[in-house]
Subunit: 138 residues, 2 copies
DNA sequence: ATCGATGCAAACCTTTTGCACCTCT
DNA sequence: AGAGGTGCAAAAGGTTTGCATCGAT
């Protein structure tokens, strides 16, 4: 975690306990929590934590390139400390959001350049379906 | 537009001038306007139009399957009367949102099923890049 | 007369901002 | 003392809801 300290120091930012806790939590989970979910979780360890600090911190983490923001079509954003560009899949039954790993979709950018006159730099891919657990319950 | 009338009548909904104007506007444009943009446009013809009616109407149109909602990562939703499932591309310079037409990405659902244990039903694909017009200005 | 729709205002939710206080150096 | 951070409360968007009025059948 020395690396983290350096990243912060380089920008004259402080790696406070709150910031560290939020980043560590995001690194530890694959649940793609919203700000509210982060707040509820961290509050257990930091009773004085405020929602404003969560928002300010995720904004900082995004600017540092340590976290990415996703929007699966809900009315809020979710956060992911896995900053590799990877698709997400949403269970339309239980609402869970999973990563899709090991699937290479980078070639899609080139495909899209062939169909448009855009210079394509990135993409966000969201799939929707029913997760294995919810399939069992049918 | 008789078809529209029928769709509304079947659900005991009324095709009011406001609703008609909003749908017609959405059908006529490829700009993927937000509720606010729709409101500003329609207000020229319907000075009494309220933003609440825009929101209520797009909600109704979505439930009728006549309009789809997209979120390119802004803090609001945009609306598209092209309900075919097609990808969108956002110009990161001017903010424009274009359709990507004629590109078949339906096979991606199958690809994703092969990588996950989800039963995949649909997807939303957003690409980001620089549009032809903005490329010229560089 | 009935039933849904409109449009205003208020409420709601997520996110941002202002500001006083705090921490660390 | 100085610089950035926290956390409260207030503000700021975007969106929804309640309700009285309107309009068409």
């Amino acid at each position: 975690m020395d690396k983290l300290t350096n990243i912060f120091r380089e920008k004259n930012l402080k790696l406070t306990p709150q910031r560290y806790a939020i980043y560590k939590y995001l690194k530890s989970t694959k649940s793609h929590p919203s700000a509210e979910m982060i707040y509820d979780t961290i509050k257990a360890d930091f009773p004085t934590m405020s929602l404003a600090t969560v928002y300010k911190t995720v904004r900082t983490l995004i600017e540092l390139g340590l976290v990415q923001e996703i929007n699966v079509g809900e009315d809020n954003f979710r956060f992911d400390a896995n900053v590799d560009n990877h698709p997400h899949i949403v269970c339309i039954t239980c609402g869970k959001v999973d990563d899709i790993e090991d699937a290479a979709f980078e070639h899609l950018n080139q495909d899209v350049e062939n169909f448009t006159n855009y210079k394509v730099s990135t993409h966000k891919l969201y799939f929707y379906g029913i997760c294995p657990e919810c399939q069992k319950e049918l």
